[in-house]
């Protein structure tokens, strides 16, 4: 693997991301922040939700924002670049193994996912004011969860980006992302589903559940949550599977 080639491709992605900074930020952050505002501010201030909901909500929003950012950061450019114009070809012809080009996309996507996740914390503080109660006593566990969530998001973007065409982007949102978010335990802890036993088992196939529960366990342990001892290994397993699927799809798409 040529490190020079790899880092130049990262530099290219960073350059393009910098150029599109504002639209990119809007694309990934607006929706989660609106959620924070409506559920965390409006609903709590008006008394429909308890004050504590602010803290419960924030890790879930963070997870959604990371997953959306990572998937979009990798999938959207890939879908365009593999179109008729084959924009990706200058990188496919660069002196580096084809798999590394996909890995580079994933690394760039992870960086964007982490940024999108981390800005939720100060934004939440600013928007919600008092009553946000985050706990940073387990920084390593938090970093581990954040990294595995980012890896899931970026690998998922790779797999989706190599599987669908430009005409199916809308479908990707309504068929894949919307159910994933609604049943992802972002707005409620997993334990809240105990009165729906079948649903509670079923949502365990949803990676976002582990992302939200993992962030909850490391940021707001005062609420019920799944243990990181479960969350981390499961997320790693999902990461491996999704990344492997994405890499093989990328290879197939890149060569004919």
């Amino acid at each position: 693997m040529s490190w020079k080639t790899f880092s130049s491709m990262l530099a290219r992605d960073a350059h393009v991301a910098r150029r599109n900074f504002v639209p990119l930020l809007m694309q990934t952050l607006l929706q989660p922040l609106l959620f924070v505002f409506v559920f965390g501010k409006v609903m709590t201030a008006s008394g429909f939700m308890p004050q504590a909901y602010k803290s419960l909500l924030l890790p879930g929003i963070m997870a959604i924002s990371m997953v959306l950012a990572g998937i979009q950061a990798v999938a959207m450019p890939l879908i365009v670049e593999f179109q008729f114009s084959r924009e990706i070809e200058d990188r496919l012809l660069a002196p580096i193994g084809i798999g590394w080009i996909a890995v580079e996309k994933v690394v760039a996507g992870m960086a964007q996912a982490l940024v999108a996740g981390l800005v939720v914390i100060p934004a939440g503080w600013l928007l919600l004011g008092q009553g946000v109660n985050l706990n940073f006593s387990r920084p390593l566990a938090f970093a581990g969860v954040a990294l595995t969530v980012a890896l899931f998001a970026a690998s998922g973007g790779l797999t989706l980006g190599c599987s669908i065409g430009q005409t199916q982007v809308g479908l990707m949102f309504s068929l894949v992302l919307a159910p994933m978010i609604m049943f992802g335990c972002a707005y409620y802890p997993w334990s809240a589903l105990k009165s729906f036993p079948i649903l509670q088992k079923a949502v365990l196939v949803n990676p976002l559940v582990y992302a939200c529960e993992g962030l909850r366990s490391t940021l707001v342990p005062q609420f019920p949550h799944l243990s990181t001892m479960i969350v981390l290994p499961v997320l790693l397993l999902i990461d491996t599977a999704v990344l492997a699927a994405g890499l093989s799809r990328f290879q197939r798409k890149a060569l004919s």
Binding site: T5, M9, R12, P77, S85, E87, L92, L93, A94, P95
Partner: protein, 344 residues
């Protein structure tokens, strides 16, 4: 010192339609897989035979042309040689590197211009060159200098810092070629480089190709334009339906046509006797008298006949006023080998 290109028995059969990475346009022949008995007939896949046993040997430092109509297999051959299309069987080498065993080493040696512009639309023209140089590990100062030179050479300096999205087809094509030369590759592949270029730009391109070749670089280009093949290539392969049907220098190929030369003669006067004696000259295939003063003479050779024609004419008391020698064209050659015109 350039590097050679070699392929042995390349075959490529597509089982799924549009071969996007081949950069190949429409025009492939779809042949439904032969139904062998009832057993196989239920899983008939459309098979597209793009290459059917292509063996080539391009010498280092040569400009080699692949000439053929749309869908002949030119782009697929380039695709296989540039690590973009995996052959169904057969082997390909750039220098001593097996393209499919060591693709990364091969990619370092080659520059590729695809048939369709495939520029990175998220960047400006200059950035495209700079990042391309960076992918190939050029140091920063060298990149900047080389990008400036190439933009100048391809007359793109005034648009260098604009996004390429708004470029015209010709500008994109020029930039694609500049990009392929950015890392100074030993072997340059040009897939239909002059398609869509205006005549002026085409001449600029030819000049650039010749200069690059003078620096000892090997160039493989595909074209369906006879004039271009004739003007640029030192050797040619004519390809049709995935087969090489003729191989040689443009002159050799043209000379391989029986009676390929056409000499249009104008005399002070002609006579049936003169026509009869011209007909008897060695190498002459056919003589057609035209309106009492002129004759069209088809022959295996061109210039070397002129002296004999002059002598024959003066022996008959006629004077040769004008000669026009038409070299056998590649167009005629393609027609001869395939029974079809190139433009069909």
């Amino acid at each position: 010192m350039g590097l050679g290109i070699r392929t042995q028995d390349l075959r490529k059969v597509y089982t799924s339609p549009p071969p996007a990475a081949a950069g190949a346009a429409a025009g492939f022949m779809f042949t439904a897989a032969k139904a062998r008995g009832g057993r196989n007939s239920n899983k008939k896949k459309p098979e597209i035979v793009a290459l059917d046993g292509v063996s080539l040997d391009v010498q280092p430092g040569q400009v080699f042309g692949l000439l053929g109509p749309n869908g002949a297999g030119k782009s697929t051959t380039v695709g296989v040689l540039t690590t973009r299309v995996r052959p169904t069987s057969g082997q390909a080498w750039i220098g001593n590197y097996d393209v499919w065993k060591d693709p990364v080493a091969v990619k370092r040696l080659i520059g590729v211009v695809q048939q369709r512009p495939n520029l990175d639309f998220a960047l400006t023209a200059r950035e495209i060159l700079l990042f391309h140089g960076a992918y190939f590990g050029l140091p920063s100062r060298e990149r900047t200098g080389r990008a400036r030179e190439l933009l100048e050479q391809f007359k793109l300096t005034d648009r260098a810092d604009q996004m390429v999205r708004g470029f015209s087809g010709g500008m994109m094509q020029r930039l694609s070629i500049a990009r392929a030369m950015m890392h100074d590759p030993q072997v340059l592949f040009l897939d239909e480089p002059s398609a869509g270029l205006d005549p002026q730009t085409k001449l600029l391109l030819w000049e650039i190709v010749r200069n690059y070749n003078r620096a000892g670089k090997t160039i493989l280009l595909t074209t369906h334009n006879m004039e271009e093949a004739d003007a640029l290539c030192q050797r040619l392969a004519i390809i049709d339906h995935g087969h090489i049907i003729a191989l040689g220098t443009p002159a050799e190929l043209k000379a391989s046509l029986p009676g390929g030369y056409l000499l249009r003669l104008r005399f002070s006067r002609t006579s049936p006797d003169l026509v009869g004696r011209l007909q008897a000259l060695p190498g002459v295939r056919e003589v057609k008298a035209v309106d009492g003063q002129a004759a069209d003479l088809y022959a295996d050779r061109g210039g070397s006949l002129v002296a004999e024609i002059v002598n024959t004419a003066s022996a008959e008391g006629a004077e040769l006023h004008d000669v026009h020698i038409a070299e056998p064209s590649l167009e005629n050659l393609f027609l001869h080998h395939t029974g079809r015109s190139l433009r069909e």
